[in-house]
């Protein structure tokens, strides 16, 4: 039923596609995470001049499809002479840059909301305690709010990371040869549906489970305090004191 020679023969192409997919995912997630921490702090700020622009940004980006955002950057900007004449065109003419920019802008919006939500969920007592110790606002964020918010955001952020991984398939529409594009080319050249899309599904499965596994490990390490402590009985706790 399955023509294994097609699968084996196209494996090098699939691995090349995997490299593109992984690289796109890594640079998009990394830049998105870096940008979204300050943006999340601005988003929960009581100062409307800080909070409102970030609200508008996440609102617009989360309200439009990623495919449209990528098309505006890749196809749309190429139509504007002003951009084509500028130095920035050296970047925008590269499909890589366009895909990275679109993905980073998109994941930043979602991650900002995730971290902002975790910041808002900080127990009031912790903030009051920090203030009563005379901590400055900066210290409050650095030592109390952000460390616990980033931990609390982990489970939600893992969803965003897996979603982003699946979304990288959209890069195949702007000439990048990622996993999905390799599958479509194998399909077109060998007319082998199961071989092409079955193989790529296995690749995505392994990627998804690896990502989830990494986040599980991270949660075990950084969210230890939220797990039920079954191995410690009250009596032990007393003795330990």
């Amino acid at each position: 039923m399955i023509d294994w020679s097609v699968v084996v023969g196209s494996l090098p192409d699939f691995f090349a596609g995997l490299k593109v997919t992984l690289l796109l995912l890594a640079i998009s997630l990394a830049s998105g995470l870096l940008l979204s921490v300050p943006l999340a702090v601005a988003r929960v700020s009581p100062n409307p001049w800080l909070a409102k622009p970030v609200w508008l940004y996440t609102y617009v980006i989360r309200g439009t499809p990623l495919l449209v955002q990528l098309f505006i950057i890749y196809y749309g900007f190429a139509q504007i002479e002003f951009i084509r004449e500028s130095v920035a065109w050296n970047l925008f003419r590269e499909a890589w840059f366009c895909a990275w920019l679109a993905f980073a802008i998109n994941t930043t919006a979602y991650t900002t909301e995730i971290i902002a939500g975790a910041l808002r969920a900080t127990p009031h007592g912790e903030i009051e305690a920090a203030k009563s110790l005379g901590m400055s606002n900066f210290d409050l964020y650095r030592r109390i709010l952000l460390p616990s918010a980033l931990r609390r955001a982990l489970p939600q952020y893992s969803n965003e990371a897996v979603g982003m991984m699946h979304a990288t398939a959209i890069a195949s529409t702007v000439t990048l040869v990622d996993l999905t594009r390799v599958a479509r080319d194998v399909y077109a050249n060998h007319l082998a549906t199961v071989e092409a899309f079955g193989t790529v599904a296995v690749f995505y499965f392994v990627l998804t489970f690896s990502l989830i596994g990494i986040f599980r490990l991270a949660e075990r390490r950084w969210l230890k305090h939220l797990r039920p402590q079954t191995d410690v009985t009250p009596a032990d706790a007393v003795i330990a004191k």
Binding site: Y75, A78, R84, R93, T175, V177, R184, A188, L191
Partner: protein, 260 residues
Amino acid sequence: MKSLARHLLCFAAAAISVTALAQAPEWKKIRIGVEGNYPPFSQIAPSGDLSGFDIDIANAICAQLKAECTLVKQEWDGMIPALNVKKFDAIVASMTISEERKKAVDFSDPYYDVPSRWVAKAGAFKDATPESLKGKKIAVIRNSPRAKFVADNYKGSETLLVNKETDVYMELTAGRADIGFGSSVVSGEAFLKKPEGKGYAQVGPAVNLGAGAGVGIAIRKGDDALRDKINSALKAIMANGTYKKLADKYFDFDVSPNRK
């Protein structure tokens, strides 16, 4: 019980094969796969209406055969697989008859034949030999004889494989490619004659791929009855002037496969 069930199964199988046999050679209903991104052969209006030479030829064949036709829009890279999984029965999408494709599908007689051409900014290239295109980026539609031709002969150049023919000219004007390789008619009629094609020109002579095999209608392997019907309809519309009338709608030159 068991043998009764077996009898029933046999009967059902026989019934199915009888109806299949009874329907297939009639071809009163034909579903035709078209592409829509290959003006002036095939294009989609903002309203969603399909038009173009491919579309008119498909409709003319159906009228000739007195068959009821449904046009099915399909993206280029899934065209042959979709035919083979019976999403439709024939492809009328400017598909060049090639040896590679003949391994997967059968073709009708050619219904038009036009060469390929290089297009670039006017004056950018004197000719389009592998030497003069060394290190340059060539835009060409993926999974096509043209892409194969470029891959085989222009090893010193970079290739930008695009997903549809119109993207060749879009990437060219955007500056993402230095030169485009496409259908002479698409580049001539849908690009160079349009405002966006201003300042661009054809480079070098016309290129005939596939030894002038032309463009045919693809059908599933073994659907000989359908192929014969399509071939006879093609002959009829070429003889009765319908073909010329349709071609004149789009072209001021001869695109017929039999021209000298």
